[in-house]
Amino acid sequence: MTLQSIVQILASGLLMGLIYALIAVGLSLIFGLMDVVNFAHGEFLMLAMYASFGLVALTALDPIVLMPVIAAVLFTVGALAYVGVVRLAMRARANLGMVQIFATFGLAIVIRGVSQLLFTPDYRNVPNVWLGGRTIPVGGIYLPVPQLAGGLVSILAFLGLWLLITRTDFGKALEATREDAGAVALVGIDKNRVFTIGWGLGAALVGIAGAILSIFYYIHPDVGLPFALIAYVTVALGGFGSVFGALAAGLLVGLVEAMTATILPPSLKSIGIYGLYLLVVFVRPRGLFGSL
């Protein structure tokens, strides 16, 4: 193995890791806010990719330009999912945890089924994008432009999220609701409103990821599944609810996956991620940066 291919693998792993992180952070945000694991997260990603596909077909603009629109669409999807499903599920009197799991799990199946009905199971691609298929060769290392842009967007999104949480009133309300949902009601914060926006925000983040992913990945009603699985591991690894944890864990997962696939036969590449995950669960159950 040459130095060049090692650097290539590390670079590819890091770029993919940034996208994994962006997918995972929305999940982490929602979990941190209200202790609900959104099992429809992969389906949100899929919807974002179809939104990108549809909007590109409609407007002939580039997914990069359309990203804010896609994020807005997904914000609505997330907010509706909370108002229409999760809010009702949280009223359960018994077995609350199970009800929440099955509510979002059921939502996932419904979204997938309806998508197959509406969009057909044909594989789609966003055609003729500016960044699609371009690579920058740097001394024998190839850096695909879509992934580079994706990495950059991911870093910007994390920065924006961090500013939102630490510098705005809404961020404070979010933090307060996370600490004690009952007490915030006493100081006049509408818990439901914060939750709705929280779900919207979580979905909007995965919307950004979906817009990026639609440039270089095929689109299909089942496309969310493999990504969602990695997102759950990423969130658990980084620590439930931790935004910085999601970033660090996403990068780690990307690197470990790329390295495992190089050392072991690639069909066993998930072993690295899940091995690491098991280790963290045994040694540090709250995750690397979790405060749970």
Partner: protein, 416 residues
């Protein structure tokens, strides 16, 4: 609570209805059709059912212009003109669901035979179930050689398996080598279910026997989110011929990742599956102009055999697509089965099985480039020949074998 007596009675009743009732002479014969119609293989399954519906039309309605068994009349004359109908089931590409659905079709819907299933891994469980209930299973488009090597009596496959396909692929490479092309090294790239594993085993063996060096042997996880590290290995090896065995999703990702990492393979010689699907070429066709895939069907045959063009037109009217490697085999499997049911003059699984074993359909009565359809003791048709198709100018062109070829292969594919 159900008493033991009523339970026993109920079971006996079910068993009785299973053995006689619904399977007696009927004006309709039901065939169970198992394909993935949801999940990542869904489009293949939906197309498969369309192809089978075309076959039903051919069998059930008079088509005097088609040179196919049972096409000219209507229904199955051996069963008093009974019509063939299908009951579809979705196995979601999952071997366990395939087994359960096969059992349901046999016990609840009382089907006389089964057709399926695209993925070889699913065919493995379906064929075991069909054996247990003595109902024939027609492996329409499963290509793993091992399926017809397990001593099962109720599995039949009219199309070639991957050993036959791979032999054709290596015959082709031998020919190129003789013609002075540099073809010394190959790279194997295959998914980790029974299809990819079986395919690569055969290819590895043939490469060894015929003196090709395998410079990369990459087994990858199916439906993975990223293939960067895998493609990096292919690129480092830079073989003369890249031989992928992949379904559509991984095929698309493979091509996209190759172009992102600046890797242009000298030639691609694919074990069909995803590389037979138009979806893949719609997505990345421009990047792999000149890719070659094996197939068991060639639209170019229509020039010699008008039936091929007519059947394709019927399929296109239903689905908006041309027939491909998969849909043609699914169509043919239905015709072969109907021919056997007609000769069996019965809807009983065991009798249909015996009739299938006696099948002898000449190649001219099919839409395939096969010599004939005749099953060996394992249910495999050894007279099915493969073709190689090259993706040139946005369509498939037959390039091998020479007697069917309409163009010389472009090799290596990246040649200007």
């Amino acid at each position: 609570m159900i008493s033991r007596r009523s339970f026993v009675a109920g079971t006996a009743l079910t068993a009785a209805s299973l053995s006689t009732g619904a399977r007696a002479q009927a004006s309709e014969v039901s065939v169970g059709v198992l394909f993935p119609t949801s999940g990542s293989g869904a489009q293949v399954g939906i197309d498969a059912i369309q192809a089978i519906n075309v076959a039903l039309d051919v069998i059930n309605n008079p088509h005097p212009d088609l040179e196919l068994p049972l096409a000219k009349g209507s229904g199955l004359p051996g069963l008093g003109g009974a019509k063939l109908r299908i009951v579809t089931a979705d196995h979601q590409s999952d071997p366990q669901k395939g087994r359960a659905e096969a059992e349901r079709l046999i016990t609840q819907d009382k089907v006389s035979a089964l057709i399926g299933s695209y993925q070889s891994a699913v065919a493995a469980t379906i064929s075991q179930t069909s054996e247990r209930f003595s109902v024939p299973y027609i492996a329409s488009d499963n290509s793993s050689p091992s399926l017809t090597r397990r001593g099962l009596k109720y599995i039949f496959r009219a199309s070639p398996h991957d050993e036959m396909f791979s032999a054709t692929m290596f015959d082709f490479l031998d020919g190129l080598k003789k013609a002075g092309q540099k073809v010394d090294t190959i790279a194997l790239f295959y998914e980790d279910t029974i299809f990819g594993t079986d395919s690569s085993n055969v290819q590895r063996k043939l490469a060894g026997e015929r003196g090709y060096k395998v410079v990369a042997d990459v087994k990858y996880r199916a439906n993975t989110p990223s293939l960067t590290a895998e493609v990096q290995q292919l690129k480092a090896a830079d073989a003369d011929v890249l031989m992928p065995s992949s379904y559509t999703t991984d095929g698309i990702l493979l091509i996209k990742t190759m172009s992102e990492l600046g890797y242009k393979p000298k030639a691609i010689l694919a074990q069909a599956a995803g590389f037979s699907e138009k979806a893949l070429y719609d997505a990345v066709g421009k990047q792999i102009e000149g890719a070659i895939t094996r197939g068991s069907f060639s639209l170019d045959l229509a020039a010699k055999r008008p039936t091929v063009g007519l059947v394709n037109a019927m399929f296109k009217a239903k689905s908006g697509k041309d027939m491909n490697d998969n849909t043609s085999r699914e169509f043919m499997a239905t015709i072969v089965l109907a021919d056997a049911i007609n000769r069996a003059k019965s809807t009983d699984g065991a009798k249909i099985r015996d009739a299938l074993a006696m099948t002898d359909i000449p190649g001219e009565m099919t839409i395939m480039p096969w010599k004939r359809v005749k099953f060996d003791e394992n249910g495999q048709n050894n007279d099915a020949d493969a073709v190689l198709l090259q993706w040139l100018g946005e369509k498939f062109v037959t390039v091998y074998p020479t007697e069917l070829a309409i163009a010389a292969p472009k090799f290596p594919m990246s040649k200007a």
